[in-house]
């Protein structure tokens, strides 16, 4: 685990996203190492998912996104993805009315070689036995298997997984972690994750976003070992169970990015309020 990111596979600089006149990202910098797992961390509503969606062009964005040596910020999403990106979104993005087999077939990519069904079925035998079942009737864990299975079908250069363990039973979390670990042996992974135990297990590098900008980059192990930094950057309390504690006023001392005055910009969304109700309330009321 070196802190240096020599020749990153994906290099994001000054990524900005404005949606409906609102600045969601103010400048995210992020490198995804050419091997292993790079974790993208941050509190609820910090802009992690928007960062991923910005990288993929699912939301209008400016800045620079280099995949290898190629600037991709002007590419349409489907053209970027065809260059070898597998994406498992936060809500899993599984097509409920399609069968499991159809969900996978849709992810087959022309020109990407023979789809690797043996690998997917080996990792997730259930996807084979449930091939004809409508994906909407699967459990959350099974849907996540479909979502991850889709990213493994095409021999991608990069896998982006947005909170793949969210809302899953502990046993399934372990299963997903094992698959990600194995996938990461072959393909670099950008992992958005709240579960710090999982980050500790999988990630070599990490970046932390807060209020729409990058506030920390470095080796994952170093950050996870620094209780003070964890509390400051992620609001994680004494135990790193992933539960957000109340906002720390000390965030203002953060060296790389002073807390912007418009701290609420990224969080009035229901998602932020729901996930960290306590924090949102105290902050929102003037």
């Amino acid at each position: 685990m070196t802190s240096e990111l020599t020749e990153p596979l994906l290099s994001v600089r000054a990524l900005r996203v404005v949606i409906g006149g609102r600045h969601i990202l103010h400048g995210v910098d992020l490198d995804v190492a050419a091997s292993g797992v790079t974790a993208l961390l941050g509190r609820n509503g910090a802009g992690k998912t928007t960062t991923v969606r910005g990288i993929l062009g699912l939301v209008p964005r400016t800045g620079s996104v280099l995949l290898g040596a190629e600037e991709t910020v002007r590419l349409a999403t489907h053209n970027l993805v065809r260059r070898g990106i597998g994406y498992a979104p936060e809500d899993r993005g599984v097509f409920a009315s399609l069968t499991v087999a159809e969900n996978l077939r849709l992810a087959e990519r022309a020109g990407a070689g023979e789809p690797d069904y043996p690998l997917v079925h080996e990792l997730f035998p259930e996807l084979k036995t449930r091939a004809r079942q409508a994906a909407g009737t699967l459990s959350g864990g099974q849907q996540q298997m479909v979502a991850i299975g889709r990213t493994l079908l095409n021999g991608n250069r990069l896998i982006i997984a947005d909170e793949p363990t969210k809302g899953l039973a502990p046993k399934v979390v372990t299963e997903v972690a094992q698959v990600l670990e194995r996938a990461a042996e072959a393909v670099p992974v950008l992992l958005v994750e709240q579960n710090l135990a999982l980050v500790r297990r999988l990630a070599a590098h990490c970046a932390v976003v807060a209020d729409g900008r990058t506030v920390h980059r470095g080796p994952a192990a170093a950050l996870l070992a620094d209780a003070d930094a964890l509390r400051r950057l992620l609001g994680v309390g004494r135990h790193d169970a992933g539960t957000p504690a109340e906002a720390q006023p000390r965030t203002a001392l953060e060296p790389t990015a002073p807390r912007p005055s418009a701290a609420d910009e990224d969080r009035p969304a229901a998602a932020g309020a729901g996930k960290a109700a306590g924090t949102a309330n105290t902050e929102a009321t003037p």
Binding site: H78, V81, L98, E102, R105, L106, R109
Partner: protein
């Protein structure tokens, strides 16, 4: 009894017309979130295309036999072409501006009938159907116009073809997935815009076919025909559930039958009202339409 049989057959014929218009409308809305107010114009274009060809303007086409089939095919082809042009030239540049998109389709929906009036006049033109299709056949004591049968058969063929297309082909898979989550389809590396053009072509073809065969049903073509059918097609789409072909088929039959029976047994015009009441009642009971898809 004879009256009921006749009303049923006429209602089914009308339902077939509604289905042909509504199926494309439903797919377009389901996939693209575009309320295509120009869909009636596509129907009118198909109707005039078939009328123009069957009136002896197209070599080989005519009012009977193979010539008539050719005329209907010509009308359908012209409507399909118009739909593709509409998508590429008007809808596509406005993908990110849904309000302007709706206004643009309303504009085309008004302009196309006006253009037809300007060229061929606003009066209805007699549609030159083949003699074989203008007669009647006896069924349970009633004399049923043959063209009702043609309409129902055409609608059934389109229904089966669409279901095969959606269920068995990769393009159909992309359309079904796109109806659910367009962004995720692009995130799988698929150019969903191609599917947009494709559903416009399919929807335009079905509407234009409805126009060509509607000429048989009504016995004439006029520039406003498409627009008046469009209103009921919208009712069918909402009742059937956006993006659902089978839902559209069931709703189209229901609307056609209710309209015919209500118009006959109560005052003329009440049938149209009954359809709207039926829509309101259905939406109160099942806000997501017959198929449970979000309306």
């Amino acid at each position: 009894m004879a009256t009921i049989v006749l009303l049923t057959c006429t209602g089914l014929g009308l339902g077939a017309l509604y289905f042909l218009v509504a199926s494309g409308l439903s797919l377009i809305f389901g996939l693209m979130d575009v309320l295509n107010f120009a869909h009636g114009a596509l129907l009118s274009i198909g109707a005039y295309g078939a009328w123009w060809a069957a009136s002896g303007n197209l070599p080989g086409a005519g009012r009977s036999g193979f010539g008539f089939v050719l005329a209907v095919a010509f009308g359908t082809a012209v409507g399909t072409l118009a739909a593709v042009l509409l998508e590429l030239a008007v809808i596509r540049p406005l993908y990110t501006r849904p309000r302007e998109q709706i206004l643009a389709t309303v504009g085309v929906g008004l302009a196309a009938p006006a253009l037809l009036s300007a060229i061929w006049g606003s009066d209805a033109r007699t549609f030159p159907g083949p003699a074989a299709l203008s007669g009647t056949f006896p069924l349970l004591g009633a004399a049923i116009p043959v063209n009702r049968l043609v309409l129902v058969a055409a609608a059934l063929v389109v229904l089966v073809a669409l279901r095969l297309f959606l269920g068995r082909t990769r393009h159909g898979l992309v359309v079904r997935a796109g109806v659910e989550d367009r962004a995720m389809v692009t995130a799988l590396g698929i150019d969903v815009r191609k599917a947009f053009t494709l559903v416009f072509a399919i929807g335009g073809a079905a509407a234009a076919l409805a126009g060509a065969l509607g000429g048989l049903y009504f016995g004439s073509v006029d520039p406003g025909q498409g627009t008046s059918l469009l209103i009921f097609a919208f009712v069918v789409v909402v009742m059937g559930g956006m993006g659902s072909i089978t839902g559209a088929a069931v709703a189209a039959v229901g609307v056609g039958l209710v309209q015919q029976f209500a118009n006959y047994y109560t005052a003329a015009g009440l049938g149209d009202l009954a359809v709207v009441v039926m829509l309101a009642a259905l939406l109160l009971i099942r806000p997501r339409g017959l198929t449970g898809r979000l309306a």
